[in-house]
Symmetry: C2
Subunit: 384 residues, 2 copies
């Protein structure tokens, strides 16, 4: 699909282009206020308005179509009204492609102090200065409206793991009420809202919640509350179950995941959109993801290794620097090391999902997946 074709569609329009014959993998195009996004898509995380150490031109060169921002962080600093006055998050950050903002539900649960929750919203103290704040569904949407993101997420409670069934049930019911209020909130023209399915690890609760959330007028549906500590098999059981409840005609966003093998399994189960801090967070610490598996750059094994991180990669890091040099940079704590490995990792994750999409469109997703995993989990590399 050419850009011009998509550009005639309204933001939120999702076109399903192809479905894999042997799995639930799918390829599509989601229209946004800043242009189309080809799915499946990996979205680098720029929590505070910056994808760690990465410059906008590098993100584009890496092939990133859309990045994430976070309502909680940007509300606290520099402030959503402030960002709005400066022309919105796109203009403020220099990123002119689509942006998705998380509503802050997750951060509110994990970062804020002295959080008190009621059915109307949550009061909390800032993790920065202890100041008192309150988020309601309307407030979370107002913040995202001001930031001007293309895709805003409904305000939800992200349950921790483990979470007993009764707590999960009450939380899911509250998240549903909040979702109704978010769906009714008037966003700016061009902005669309995604709903979030919760329900912890309880299949019936997840099914019920998915059916309820899908009935609301959201442009897309997300799976939240996963990858929070539960066993991997359980994560994918839930993805499997929830996917069956989701409408084919809307994009599905699996929040906060994951490692390369997770992305591929989730694509196989019909997920379309992914975000994860792994490429940048682990990259800063010296872990590189390559077509031959995971490399811990600091390892003495690479001291004299003149090969690039990934011979199959065309990023600046792989074109210009050896493993031996990268190891030296980490040994010396030179910031160029974290920077170059982050750049490679983001390029790798974005490309991996692009390649999955190309394989789906060409009707060879199964063989592609087998070949990729064979190399990635093979002898030379060590998967997570």
């Amino acid at each position: 699909m050419k850009k011009n074709d998509s550009a005639t569609r309204d933001p939120g329009h999702f076109a399903l282009l192809s479905k894999d014959q042997e799995s639930r993998a799918r390829a599509g195009v989601l229209m946004t206020g800043h242009g189309p996004i080809e799915t499946p898509v990996f979205m680098p995380v720029g929590t505070k308005g910056s994808v760690r150490i990465m410059d906008v031109s590098e993100l584009k060169h890496a092939g990133a179509q859309i990045i994430l921002g976070n309502a909680y962080h940007l509300y606290l600093r520099p402030g959503h009204i402030f960002v709005e006055e400066l022309g919105g998050l796109h203009r403020f950050t220099g990123w002119d492609r689509p942006i998705l903002t998380d509503s802050g539900g997750y951060q509110l649960m994990s970062l804020a102090d002295l959080r008190t929750l009621d059915r109307d919203g949550a009061s909390f103290r800032s993790h920065l200065d202890g100041s008192l704040h309150r988020f309601t569904p309307e407030k979370a949407m107002e913040i995202q409206r001001a930031l001007g993101s293309d895709i805003a997420m409904a305000f939800d409670e992200c349950t921790p793991f483990p979470c007993d069934q009764e707590t999960a049930k009450q939380s899911a019911a509250m998240t549903l009420e909040w979702a109704e209020r978010c769906a009714a909130f008037p966003m700016k023209s061009g902005q669309v809202v995604f709903g979030i399915v919760q329900g912890s690890v309880y299949p019936e609760l997840r099914r019920w919640h998915a059916a309820k959330i899908r009935s609301l007028p959201f442009a897309g549906l997300a799976l939240g509350g996963l990858a929070v500590g539960e066993p991997r098999a359980q994560t994918f059981d839930i993805v499997d179950i929830v996917e069956e409840e989701l409408p084919e005609e809307k994009p599905r966003y699996l929040m906060g995941m994951g490692l390369p093998e997770d992305l591929i399994d989730a694509i196989s189960l019909g997920m379309d959109m992914f975000d994860c801090v792994v490429p940048t967070r682990n990259g800063r610490r010296g872990t590189a993801y390559t077509s031959l598996g995971k490399l811990v750059v600091k390892n003495a094994l690479f001291a004299r290794d003149e090969r690039p991180l990934d011979p199959a990669c065309d990023c600046v890091t792989c074109r210009s620097y050896s493993r031996a040099y990268l190891r030296h940079l980490f040994a010396c704590k030179e910031l160029l090391g974290p920077r170059l490995v982050s750049l490679h990792n983001v390029t790798f994750f974005v490309r991996l999902v692009k390649e999955a999409r190309a394989a789906i469109l060409q009707g060879r997703f199964g063989p592609w997946k087998k070949e990729f995993l064979g190399n990635y989990l093979g002898e030379e590399g060590i998967a997570d």
Copy 2:
């Protein structure tokens, strides 16, 4: 002078192209084993084989012709033999333009523990792990030979400030003996060696030392032991005095300086080559140097300032990001902030000296200097 013309010259050949009528400013071309360097030139500092947070392609885009490495640091980690086995510092770092290495004299005096000095050399403990090492003039040259730098610096003692006259005299005499040994050391084909003039702040001692050092077969002459804490006026008095003793036909390198106004004054006094950590070190801390003076990016003054750091600059930072966004990055401790300000600063320093050169060649150095300083020290900016 075209590159092809220079390429026919031997490394170390220095062609003086133009001299300013009203000052001692000069423009020339110095040939090295990795191509010509147009002087005056600012050399970004890459102590451990990396100009902090900067990628090779960015350094080139900033116009950097030559970068520095440091023998002491690279000897300790990753080791000069190691670098040699991997093909030398150029190949190891991916920088294929000229490299100058400092001999380690300065670091040995300021960083090493338990240093004991004798006329033959210096024994010291590594600042990294306390291991015992010894540098002699021959050892310092052997390290630089192995690193494969284009310009190696003679091994010297860098006297601190203050330093009493008798100590300075004995030190200068020892540095002279060391210089003779360095000048006699067989370097690789294509490598050239610069001598270093010491003598603290004592005019007669400086004159005597300059006359002695200039008599040795060095390709260039450096002024060391300045900008170590002495008053600025005294620094430039010494530069003035020493310059009169230096041969016109060899390049002069003022080590470790300086701020923009220092560079211009030093160029006026006939200096050709400069290095300083100010652009990267101060950039990491949020100080930007611009055509209108120094900006402390974190200042609340810039919270809503949508202008680039320097409207007169074409670097990536100034083309893509506002002062408001940079301030936000520093407020959030996002590493993109230090990275972007470092990139701007290196671009600014390199370009400043390039502009000085262009003005010398066009016979308008005086007016250019007046205009630059008028803007830089003017109302809007605050010079150091």
